[in-house]
């Protein structure tokens, strides 16, 4: 086929995406960038104010820093716990025993539940006196904290809640585990290794691409924590669960300071972008097999 014809044909087929990309992605991104330099309160037209929004966010908005801190705190706890849980479960479930698929489904299922439903369910599980979690703790003679109504524990409550949605990460790890050839383990066993050495010297190194992928994806996701905070605590108590995206939403859709909120969105974008770049830069620990 003629080269020109192929280009036209290719463009024809991807045209829906191309149009959509311009309309729903690129256009809005540019518009949002512009808005971040304006004072736009919905009622009147946007008014150019240069870097005023950014300056105000960084210099005189304590809630900006509080919300950023809250999100970073959450991310810091979420990543290790999330990865460890998913990894452990995946290793455990990487067997050809009967019924293993049922168990895999079981652990995957909670991740399908919507944010709203999760919020409602966990509100009850985390209830201070009669919630499931504290009842179980009291069974072991421990007094559980007030979770969502205690500023010191509220964020951790969200981390615990997120562990239930371990499904997608677990599946990625499973797929990665299944790529590791059996022979490696077999030859190691000839030399007499135990399961921990298996994991340390074979599994983990060969799993690094999956670990890396999960970390990158998990970081991006954790930075966007919103729905559960919006529904369960609305940022409370005393702003201890005012996560960055929740504060962004409040500024944009509750106080109608849309220029201000756009600046917040761009700062978020830059942070995520930089973090992702950093992760890629320092990814020499990832072994790619090929």
């Amino acid at each position: 086929m003629l080269r020109k014809k192929r280009i036209l044909l290719g463009l024809f087929f991807i045209s829906p995406w191309l149009i959509g990309f311009l309309l729903f992605t690129l256009g809005p991104i540019i518009f949002s960038f512009y808005l971040s330099f304006t004072d736009y309160q919905v009622i009147a037209a946007p008014k150019w104010i240069g870097i005023e929004n950014y300056r105000e966010l960084i210099k005189s908005d304590p809630l900006f820093w509080k919300s950023l801190y809250n999100t970073l705190y959450y991310v810091a706890f979420r990543i290790p716990t999330g990865i460890l849980t998913a990894l452990s479960l995946a290793i455990l479930l990487n067997r050809k025993l009967k019924g293993v698929t049922i168990f895999r489904s079981l652990f995957y299922f909670p991740s399908l539940i919507s944010g709203v439903v999760l919020s409602v369910i966990w509100l009850w599980i985390l209830a201070p006196e009669f919630g499931l979690l504290n009842m179980v703790l009291s069974f072991f003679k421990l007094k559980g904290p007030l979770w969502l109504t205690d500023p010191a524990w509220a964020k951790l409550a969200f981390v615990i809640m997120a562990l239930w949605s371990v499904g997608p990460q677990m599946i990625i790890f499973l797929a990665g585990l299944q790529d590791i050839p059996e022979q490696l383990y077999e030859s190691a066993h000839i030399d007499g290794t135990n399961w921990w050495q298996d994991i340390r010297y074979i599994t983990l190194p060969l799993l690094t691409p999956s670990i890396f992928y999960n970390i990158v994806v998990l970081v991006i996701g954790a930075f966007q924590v919103f729905t559960q905070a919006f529904i369960m605590t609305n940022g409370g108590p005393v702003d201890s669960t005012l996560f960055y995206v929740l504060y962004l939403y409040n500024n944009g859709f509750r106080y109608f300071k849309m220029g201000y909120a756009s600046s917040m969105a761009w700062i978020l974008f830059i942070i995520i972008f930089c973090l992702t770049l950093i992760q890629f830069r320092f990814s020499s620990w990832v072994h790619y097999e090929r």
């Binding site: 990309f21 992605t25 479960l89 168990f103 652990f107 919507s114 599980i125 790529d179 978020l268 992702t276």
Partner: protein
């Protein structure tokens, strides 16, 4: 001989561990279900009661009546069905262009598509809202369905493209020789072969739109246009501390997912691996 015994013991230990973990994992769901069937006075007792006496099955009826459940269900289904249609058609169409035709610039644009998956939605949230408001789409279902027709679900395009790669080129070549246009090839050959991948995409799409909260929250104004997700949120605001009713409402929202999940388990647990994503 000894080896076999060790293996059996090992397996047994494994089963025990995994059962305990699974139990811990699933217990919250059982607890929720149990709560949904309790009368209010059974909620705040210690030690806790797992099997409620009496079993309040009418909690479900009360939950359905407390909010216009069927109306919300209808709205949710409308949105879900339309976006499903748009997604499957446009994603499979666009993926064809990214995989079955070899043209210069294709791979760069594909990288752009992959790149869009990394953009946080908050960046486009406000401008999209402003534009939709300008064209009068606020308080309609359009913002929640129309984008699906433009292959905005980049991940699905990615999935399908990977799948298409596994279809032998010879099939297309033979069709070319017979004088088929690419459009026909896409419709008559590729699509039927891609059924499993399409089902996967469809299921992911269904779940995303069924669960979508932020979209309806921002774009739907009238109560009669609300979806189940918003309905549950409104329910929480009004009956927030009627835990038994709330859990009943939550369970009602999860049931379709359970049904879907049970009938298409394999899709989830292996759907992602279709793509060699871990690499």
């Amino acid at each position: 001989m000894n080896n076999r015994k060790i293996t059996i013991v090992n397996n047994l230990i494994w089963y025990i561990i995994i059962c305990v973990l699974a139990f811990i994992f699933v217990f919250p769901l059982l607890w929720i279900f149990s709560t949904a069937l309790k009368t209010r006075d059974q909620l705040f007792v210690y030690p806790p009661v797992l099997i409620p006496k009496p079993v309040a099955w009418d909690n479900f009826k009360k939950a359905i009546n407390a909010i216009p459940f069927l109306l919300y269900l209808k709205n949710t289904l409308i949105i879900v069905v339309f976006s499903l249609l748009g997604d499957i058609i446009s994603s499979s169409f666009v993926a064809y262009g990214f995989s079955r035709i070899d043209w210069p610039g294709r791979d760069i644009l594909f990288l752009v598509l992959l790149g869009t998956m990394m953009i946080p939605y908050q960046v486009t949230l406000i401008p999209l809202f402003i534009v939709y408001r300008m064209i009068g789409w606020v308080n309609t279902f359009f913002p929640l369905t129309v984008p699906s027709f433009f292959a905005t679900a980049a991940f699905h395009v990615f999935l399908l493209r990977q799948f298409y790669h596994t279809i032998p080129k010879d099939l297309s070549d033979a069709a070319y020789i017979d004088g088929c246009s690419d459009l026909r090839i896409w419709w008559k050959i590729i699509l039927p072969l891609a059924k499993p991948a399409l089902v996967t995409v469809g299921i992911f799409n269904f779940i995303n739109h069924w669960n979508d909260f932020l979209g309806p929250l921002i774009y739907l104004q009238e109560d009669k246009k609300y979806t189940l997700a918003i309905g549950l949120y409104a329910f929480r605001n009004e009956f927030g501390t009627d835990w038994n009713l709330m859990m009943a409402a939550a369970i009602l929202m999860v049931i379709p997912l359970v049904v879907l999940f049970l009938s298409a388990q394999k899709v989830f647990v292996s759907g992602i691996t279709l793509t060699g994503l871990k690499g």
